[in-house]
Amino acid sequence: MDLLRFVAMRLGKGVIVLFAIAVLNFFLVRAAPGDPAQVMAGEAGAGDEVFLEQLRQQFGLDRPLYEQLWTYLSNYATLDLGFSYRQQQPVLDLILDRLPATLLLTGAAFFISLALGVVLGALAARRVGKWSDSAITTLALVFYATPLFWIALMSQIVFSLKLGWLPNVGFETIGAGYTGFERALDIGRHLVMPALTLGLFFTAIYARMMRASMLEVAGADFVKTAYAKGLSPSVITRRHIARNAILPVVTLAGLQAGQLVGGAILTETVFAWPGIGRLMFEALAQRDYSVLLGVFFVSSAMVVVFNLVTDIIYRIVDPRIEASA
């Protein structure tokens, strides 16, 4: 009941945020030198006055600004994100075409880093001061400090070129014509390296955070209570320490989840992964404004959605949140 009202409230706020972003988008294009018709003509590779006039009429650019804004917003409301002249396709189609690949990559990286980070961090905290703790913290520091693209390139050289265990680049084997389970397996093999590379950085952060958080909670009064009950150390660690220690990790994971769509440009480029990141990069290089703005809008929508999901999860794992909402 309370949760429903909370979700409704947050969805309402999300719609306001998206509306603001759409308006911002609208004025961003108009802030570029010349008018959008020139931008579009430039994209299409033609520049004569007659063509420009034609474009202006076609897109209503000769109408007053408020009328244009209205048309623009109504288009966005019906998920019409515009048309890319360079690609000769509606922007929405372009994005929807790339979205699954990106979500697969970043989603996999997300779950790998979360699971690995929490487990390693908890392990390090259990063995604080011992060699396994030092090994985990050192490794975490190394992955935290090493540039992503370098790890990507090195893993390509080692695991693909030298050892030949995994495919080098791409989403799937082109022209192999796999279907069903075989195709899933093929995509999975292609996914391993980019997902791990992308996930390592956050694994390092989660591991360090989980370790610090576990050590902090271990000194809490209720842990003393748990010892006084005569519980075994493993139950205390699992039920009392880890459950409380994971809360800050959840908060951080929520922030990462917001970046699921836009945050993988580098990895997608190095591994030639056909995702949103590369679409955005190419659009940037080609001055394909409508695609850029579309990606901008879709990533914003994703941030809003994932923030909401995080908040809901947080309310489930921490009963105190409800009281202060």
Binding site: M9, D221, T225, A228, G230, L231, N244
Partner: protein, 537 residues
């Protein structure tokens, strides 16, 4: 006489070599019989908590047992393996702690936390556990057990949480209950209830109780026998009535004499001067929620009025949540009041901008509760004291010179100016805090629980200091406290606050002799050991 439940014999606990003494506890011997309460009393650092933790087998890793024995019903605890000791904890010895707010796992329902006790020791089957949990909640006097088992700790008050802790500790009917300062963090009326509860359960179940406390009032209420610890050594032991009436050891005598009496001293004559601080119709309401959500309002301060003359101390007493601290902070405009007048001598400050208020800030200063948290650890004491005057435009050299004089005034050596707060004890830090407040020559001091975090002997010294400074400088003091004994000793008049309102305001002697409001009477009745410490200091 049968075997004692707990027999501690020549127990010594060694501290790591960096500590300021070699033993946390030295050659301590005592025993507790079934159905008896033994209080271990001492000031902070006396080793009383270590004693409790040693019996429980939960010493911090750095502290080692250096000798002696701990026998629970003739069974030597120090020889048990970790696994055997785990079975003793909870089953044979229950323990409750000082901080009810943090002693329960915030993510687990109350029922689950109680049931965990049975689970850990394989007691009862699941349905019987649920039934027993409900019975326990009922037994410790919590309303609506069926609801309590389903709530989380944050939905309960401090007193209710401490009841849950007690229910948990007694779930398996242990032979021994260890209570480590269980009422220190509670309000006086809640404290009285919890003490009654522990005492009732002790007599109902014949449990032996090892009660750790620093408060002689509590001792007088609950103990059959007491053991006084000084720097890790037992300096006196005996029946409570005898020790309280005729303490033999000088340290015990000093501790007992330091307990502020509930009988106020004779009223002081005060010059009839215009008020230094006048507060009229002060109000502060806290609102939560907003933007879509429906808001909740809490009236923290509701139509509060009082005036303090120069050289006078007005006590503001009440329980936590009564709004007394909010009043103190509103007077300084650290919290912005919603309504009312605050007059410093003749200047009304409630409507000033913070910028316009700044020059007037020197006239009203605050002494904070926590001597550890209220001083910046990275600044030398001299600079902490001089900071206010320098901000008000005093020359830095002159301000530092004044800081040294002030340190002398509050009973520290002027050389302390060059040292850092961590080099001082709690009592010394509170002296520094007072020097800091005095640096601006204020006309009004707000003391917010200024002695509540200190041991009784230190508390008595700080109270003397405050009295002495008031006599010399003639400042008006608003003394915010929850401790009626302290209020009785230092205040000329006392205002009793309940739910944001002043329910009674009277000269101290009159208030204690003839309380007119029900709530005042209730507060006075709840002061622990009021009969034992009615002596006038």
């Amino acid at each position: 006489m049968s075997e004692p439940v707990l027999k501690v014999d020549r127990l010594s606990l060694s501290l790591p070599s960096v500590a300021d003494r070699a033993f946390a506890l030295k050659d301590a011997s005592f025993e507790i019989n079934a159905g008896e309460t033994l209080c271990v009393v001492g000031e902070s650092g006396s080793g009383k908590s270590m004693t409790a933790h040693a019996v429980m087998g939960l010493l911090p890793p750095a502290v080692k047992v250096a000798g002696g024995s701990i026998k629970l019903a003739a069974r030597e605890l120090l020889k048990l393996s970790d696994r055997e000791m785990r079975q003793v904890r909870g089953r044979d010895i229950g323990m409750i702690f000082q901080e009810p707010m943090t002693s329960l796992n915030p993510l687990m329902r109350i029922g689950d936390q109680i049931r965990e006790m049975f689970e850990a020791h394989g007691a009862l089957d699941p349905s019987a556990r649920q039934k027993r949990a409900l019975e326990l909640i009922e037994e410790v006097g919590l309303p609506d057990p069926a609801r309590i088992v389903r709530v989380y700790p944050h939905q309960l008050s401090g007193g209710q949480r401490q009841r849950v802790m007690i229910a948990m500790a007694l779930a398996l009917e242990p032979k021994l209950l260890i209570a480590d300062e269980p009422t220190t963090a509670l309000d006086v009326t809640t404290q009285a209830q919890i003490l009654k509860l522990v005492d009732r359960l002790r007599s109902d179940h014949g449990t032996a109780v090892l009660f750790i406390t620093h408060d002689f009032g509590v001792v007088a209420e609950i103990a059959d026998r007491i053991v006084v610890l000084q720097n890790g050594e037992i300096c006196e032991a005996g029946k409570t009535a005898e020790v309280l009436r005729a303490p033999t050891h000088p340290y015990t005598r000093k501790l007992i004499a330091a307990v502020p009496s509930i009988t106020p001293p004779d009223a002081r004559a005060l010059a009839d001067a215009p008020a230094a601080l006048t507060v009229e119709g002060l109000a502060k309401t806290y609102k939560s929620g907003g933007f879509f959500a429906k808001g909740r309002q809490v009236k923290a301060v509701d139509d509060v009025s009082f005036a303090i003359r120069p050289g006078e101390t007005l006590g503001l007493v009440g329980e936590s949540g009564s709004g007394k601290s909010t009043v103190g902070r509103c007077c300084l405009r650290l919290i912005e009041p919603d309504d009312g007048t605050i007059r410093l001598e003749t200047v009304e400050i409630q409507a000033m901008t913070q910028r316009a208020l700044r020059p007037h800030r020197s006239r009203i200063q605050m002494i904070f509760q926590d001597p550890y948290a209220s001083l910046n650890p990275r600044r030398s004491v001299g600079r902490i004291i001089a900071e206010g005057p320098v901000a008000q435009g005093v020359d830095r050299k002159a301000a530092m010179r004044r800081a040294r004089e002030l340190l002398d005034l509050v009973g520290l050596t002027p050389a302390a100016a060059d040292r850092y707060p961590h080099e001082f004890s709690g009592g010394q830090r509170q002296r520094i805090g007072i020097a800091r407040a005095l640096a601006l020559d204020p006309k009004v001091l707000i003391a917010d629980e200024a002695v509540s975090a200190l041991d009784v002997s230190v508390q008595a010294q700080i109270l003397d200091l405050i009295r002495d400074i008031q006599k010399r400088l003639g400042v008006a003091i608003l003394f915010v406290t929850h401790d009626l004994r302290v209020a009785a000793q230092i205040c000329d008049r006392i205002a009793v606050m309940q739910s944001g309102r002043i329910v009674e305001l009277a000269p101290t002697a009159e208030l204690f002799a003839n309380p007119t409001h029900d709530y005042t009477r209730k507060l006075l009745a709840a002061v622990p050991g009021r009969d034992a410490f009615a002596h006038a200091n």
